[in-house]
C-alpha cells in the first residue's frame, strides 16, 4: 500500500467508516496515521473529558461531524448532581475559532446553553444536523437561533431533553425560503406549539422524512400535517386524544392511508384508545413501534394494534401489555430484533404485569432477537436458562427485576445460574445489566464467559471484592463498568490499575470504596481522573481524621490525556 500515492490510499480509507476500524488503521504506520488524520470525517468522543478541543483539532483538522458524550450513564437516574459538568460551550467556542467546516453535532448528556446554540448557528455555514439526546440547559430561544441562522439545516432532533419552553415562536423562525428539512423531532417540548407555523413548515419541506410532535399538537392538526407530508417515514404522534367526535378520527384515517412510506411510529403521549385503530392500515409496514409512553392504552388495544405488525423489528412497550400480550408479539413479530418492556408502576406496587413467562415466550418466538431491556417483578433461573437456549444471539441483555435482592421466586435461590447461562450461551454479548439476588458466583461466570462484554451494570449484587475482581480480570474488552450499592471495595479497585487504561470509565456509588483507596489509585495512575462526588458536606471528609477509612459515596474515574478538568464544581473532588 505504501507504493500508492496518498490519494489512492485515502480513497480506500473512505470505505472504512467505523471509528474502531479507523483507529486501527491509524496505528499501522506513520504514513497511514497521517493520511487517516486528514481524511477523518466523523469523530466520536465517548467522554468529553478524555480529550480537549485543541487536541481534537490538532489531530483531525478536517472533520465534519462530531459526537460528544458528557455525563456518566447513571446521571439518567439522578445519581449525578446538577452542575457536575459536561459543558459543550468550550467545544463550540474552539471549533468556531478554528476553520473546521462543522456540519453535524451529536451530543448526549451534555449541558447546552442558548449561548452555545446561538454561537453554533452563526459559526458554521454548512451546518446541517443537530442531534441532542438527554441534554439540558437550553430553551426554545436557542432553538430559535438554530432555526433562524442555519440555512442548510436538515436535521433538528431533540430526544428526551430538558428544555425550558418559553412558548416563543421558534418554529416561525425558519425562513420562508427554507425548504431543506428532513428530520424534525420536538417531542420533548412541554409547551404550546404554534400550529400554523408548524403546518406551513411541513408544507414547504418536501424532503421531510421524520416528524415527531409534542403533546401540544392535537388530533386534527395531526391529520392536516400528515396530509401535507404523505412521504413521511418516521412519525411521532403527540397528544393523541380526542374526546369529542369521530370526525377528526375519519380525517386522520384518510391521511394515514396515504402514508405508504411510514415505517416507524412513536409518541402517543396521551392516547385515546379508540383512535389507535386509525393506524391499522399502515401497521403491516412498520418496523419500529414505540408505545412506551402510552400508559392510558390498555393491553387489549395494544395487542390489537400489534397483531397487524408482522414486520416489526423494534418494539418499545409498557408492561401493561402483560405476558399474554408478549405471547401475541412472539407469534406475530417474527422479525423482531429489539424489545424493550418498561414498567408502568414505578412505585413497586406489586402487580405482576409481565413475568418470566413473557420473556420465555418472546425468546421462543423471535429467532432474530438480539437486544432486550426487560423490567419485571419476578424471575427464575429456569426461565433464564431457557431464554439462553432459545436465543444465543443476544448482543444486549438488560434485565431489571424491580425489587433489589429478589431471588428466584420459585426456588428462592440467587439468580447466578440463570445469568450464568446467558453469558455462556451468548458469545457475542456486548452489554449486560444484572439484577435480583446475586452472589459473587455470577461474576465468576461473567468473567469466565463474557469475553466480548463491553458494558456491565451492577446494582445491589455480589458479596465480596472477589466478585468485582472476577469481572476485571476476565472481561478483557470491558469499556464501561458501573456499580451501585454493592459490597466491592479498595482491594478490587486497586488490584490492577492498568485495567483502567483499556476501559473508558468506572462508576462506583454506595459501595465499600474508601477515600484512602481512591487517593492511592490516583497516585498510582496519573492518567486517570478519579472524581469523588460528595454532595453532603464538602469538608467533612478531611476533618474527622479517619479519611483513610472514610467511605466514598460516589466515585467516577475515567482515562484522560488532558489531566484534571478545570470546570469541576465544588462538590466534585478530583484526586
Amino acid at each position: 500500500m505504501n507504493y500508492f500515492p496518498d490519494e489512492v490510499v485515502e480513497h480506500v480509507f473512505d470505505f472504512v467508516t467505523s471509528h474502531k476500524d479507523r483507529n486501527s488503521i491509524s496505528l499501522v504506520c506513520k504514513s497511514w496515521f497521517k493520511i487517516e488524520r486528514y481524511s477523518r470525517q466523523n469523530v466520536f468522543i465517548g467522554n468529553c473529558y478524555s480529550i480537549n478541543p485543541e487536541r481534537l483539532l490538532r489531530r483531525f483538522p478536517c472533520f465534519k461531524s462530531l459526537t460528544l458524550k458528557g455525563k456518566p450513564h447513571f446521571a439518567d437516574f439522578n445519581l449525578v448532581p446538577h452542575g457536575w459538568g459536561g459543558f459543550v460551550q468550550p467545544w463550540i467556542e474552539a471549533l468556531a475559532r478554528s476553520r473546521v467546516g462543522l456540519e453535524e453535532l451529536r451530543l448526549k448528556r451534555m449541558v447546552v446553553t442558548d449561548e452555545s446554540l446561538e454561537l453554533l448557528s452563526r459559526s458554521f455555514v454548512n451546518f446541517k444536523s443537530l442531534v441532542l439526546v438527554s441534554c439540558e440547559g437550553f430553551s426554545t430561544d436557542g432553538l430559535a437561533s438554530i432555526a433562524s441562522n442555519c440555512r442548510h439545516l436538515r436535521d433538528l432532533d431533540l430526544q428526551e431533553n430538558e428544555i425550558d419552553d418559553h412558548r416563543g415562536q421558534w418554529l416561525s423562525c425558519f425562513p420562508e425560503a427554507y425548504t431543506s428539512l428532513v428530520t424534525l423531532n420536538f417531542a420533548c417540548l412541554e409547551g404550546e406549539t404554534n400550529l400554523v407555523a408548524l403546518e406551513r413548515l411541513v408544507a414547504r419541506s418536501p424532503n421531510l422524512r421524520s416528524l415527531k410532535l409534542n403533546r401540544a399538537v392535537p388530533l386534527d392538526a395531526l391529520a392536516r400535517l400528515m396530509a401535507c407530508a404523505p412521504q413521511i417515514v418516521d412519525l411521532g404522534v403527540g397528544s393523541y386524544e380526542d374526546e369529542q367526535d369521530s370526525e377528526s378520527c375519519l380525517k386522520l384515517q384518510a391521511a394515514i392511508r396515504k402514508c405508504t412510506s411510514l415505517r416507524s411510529l412513536s409518541g402517543f403521549l396521551e392516547a385515546a384508545p379508540h383512535c389507535l385503530s386509525a393506524f391499522h392500515p399502515v401497521c403491516h409496514n412498520l418496523t419500529y413501534l414505540n408505545l412506551s409512553y402510552a400508559a392510558e392504552i390498555n393491553g387489549s388495544h395494544l395487542i390489537r394494534l400489534i397483531e397487524h405488525c408482522k414486520k416489526l423489528q423494534r418494539l418499545w412497550i409498557l408492561d401493561s401489555i402483560g405476558d399474554k400480550g408478549l405471547e401475541v408479539v412472539a407469534s406475530t413479530c417474527k422479525e423482531l430484533q429489539e424489545l424493550r418492556v418498561f414498567p408502568t408502576d414505578l412505585q413497586g406496587g406489586g402487580n405482576t404485569a409481565v413475568t418470566e413467562d413473557g420473556l420465555v415466550a418472546i425468546s421462543a418466538g423471535c429467532p432474530k432477537l438480539h437486544s432486550i431491556l426487560y423490567f419485571c417483578q419476578q424471575m427464575t433461573n429456569a426461565a433464564l436458562i431457557t431464554v439462553a437456549k432459545n436465543c444465543p444471539n443476544f448482543i444486549r441483555f438488560r434485565l431489571c427485576i424491580l425489587e433489589p435482592h429478589k431471588p428466584d421466586h420459585v426456588t428462592s435461590q440467587p439468580l447466578d445460574e440463570g445469568f450464568g447461562a446467558i453469558v455462556q450461551a451468548c458469545k457475542n454479548l456486548k452489554r449486560l445489566s444484572v439484577s435480583g439476588l446475586l452472589t459473587d458466583q455470577v461474576f465468576l461466570y461473567i468473567g469466565m464467559f463474557a469475553t466480548q462484554l463491553e458494558m456491565l451494570s451492577i446494582a445491589f449484587a455480589g458479596d465480596t471484592d472477589k466478585g468485582m475482581l472476577y469481572v476485571l480480570n476476565g472481561c478483557k474488552k470491558m469499556r464501561k463498568l458501573e456499580i451501585r450499592d454493592s459490597p466491592f471495595g479498595d482491594t478490587a479497585l486497586l488490584a490492577d490499575v492498568n485495567k483502567y487504561v483499556t476501559m473508558r470509565s468506572l462508576w462506583m456509588s454506595s459501595c465499600e470504596v474508601t477515600l484512602g483507596g481512591c487517593k492511592r489509585l490516583a497516585q498510582k495512575a496519573p492518567w486517570l481522573n478519579v472524581e469523588i462526588i460528595n454532595e453532603n458536606d464538602n469538608n467533612r471528609m478531611e476533618e474527622n481524621g479517619y479519611e483513610g477509612r472514610q467511605k466514598v459515596d460516589k466515585m467516577y474515574l475515567y482515562r484522560t490525556v488532558v489531566g484534571t478538568r478545570v470546570d469541576a464544581p465544588p462538590f466534585v473532588w478530583i484526586l
Binding site: 447513571f74 439518567d76 437516574f77 439522578n78 445519581l79 438527554s134 428526551e160 431533553n161 420533548c188 403533546r215 401540544a216 392535537p218 388530533l219 386534527d220 397528544s239 386524544e241 380526542d242 374526546e243 369529542q244 367526535d245 370526525e247 377528526s248 403521549l269 396521551e270 412506551s292 409512553y293 402510552a294 400508559a295 392510558e296 418498561f342 414498567p343 408502568t344 408502576d345 414505578l346 412505585q347 413497586g348 423490567f375 431489571c400 424491580l402 425489587e403 433489589p404 435482592h405 431471588p407 428462592s412 435461590q413 440467587p414 445489566s433 439476588l437 452472589t439 459473587d440 458466583q441 465468576l444 446494582a459 445491589f460 455480589g462 458479596d463 450499592d485 454493592s486 459490597p487 454506595s510
Partner: protein, 194 residues
Amino acid sequence: MEKGGLELEITELRLGLPGTEKMMKKRGFTEMIMTSSGSNSDQCESGVVSTGCDVEKANESPVAKSQVVGWPPVCSYRRKNSCKEVSTTRVGLGYVKVSMDGVLYLRKMDLGSSQGYDDLAFALDKLFGFHGIGVALKDGDNCEYVTIYEDKDGDWMLAGDVPWGMFIESCKRLRIMKRSDAAGFGLQPRGVDE
C-alpha cells in the same frame, strides 16, 4: 489446574444455606432504606447487619422502597412523562386539561402560571380565542358559558367559589360548558352562598 481451583471456589461459595450468609455480610437494601429514612440507625454495628427484622419492616412499608434514589433505573425524562406520574403528581400544579363545548380538541393549560381567577379567565380566553369565558367566571348568571372543574374527589364544581389556593390544589381538569347544559349536569351544590 485452574479449572480445579475454580471448582473448589464454587463449592466454597455454596456452603451454608442459601440466603443467610449473604444477608449477614452485605449492607441490605432494606437496611439502607431504614437508615436513610432516619430510623434504626443503631443497626449498623461493625459492618454486620442483621436483616431479619428489617425484612418485616420493609413488608410493612413498601412505600419506603421507592425512596431509593435512581431505582428502578428508569431515566428521569421517562419518569416525568409516565402517565401515572402525570396524573398523581400534577394535580393542582402545572397542567390540567381544558375542554370547551363545541371545540373539537382538548387543550392543556398550566394552572400554576395564573395568579387568580381573573388571570385564569384571561388565560382561558386566550386559549380558546373566545371572549366570554372571563365573564362566565366572574358574573356567573349573565353569559352563555359556565366554567366548571373536576376536583380531586371526582366531583364537578363551579369554578370561582372556593379561594384560589384551594382551587388550584384540587382542580384536576376544567370544562367550559354551555349554561343550558349545566343545569342537568349534576354539579355539586355551591355550599354557602346559595
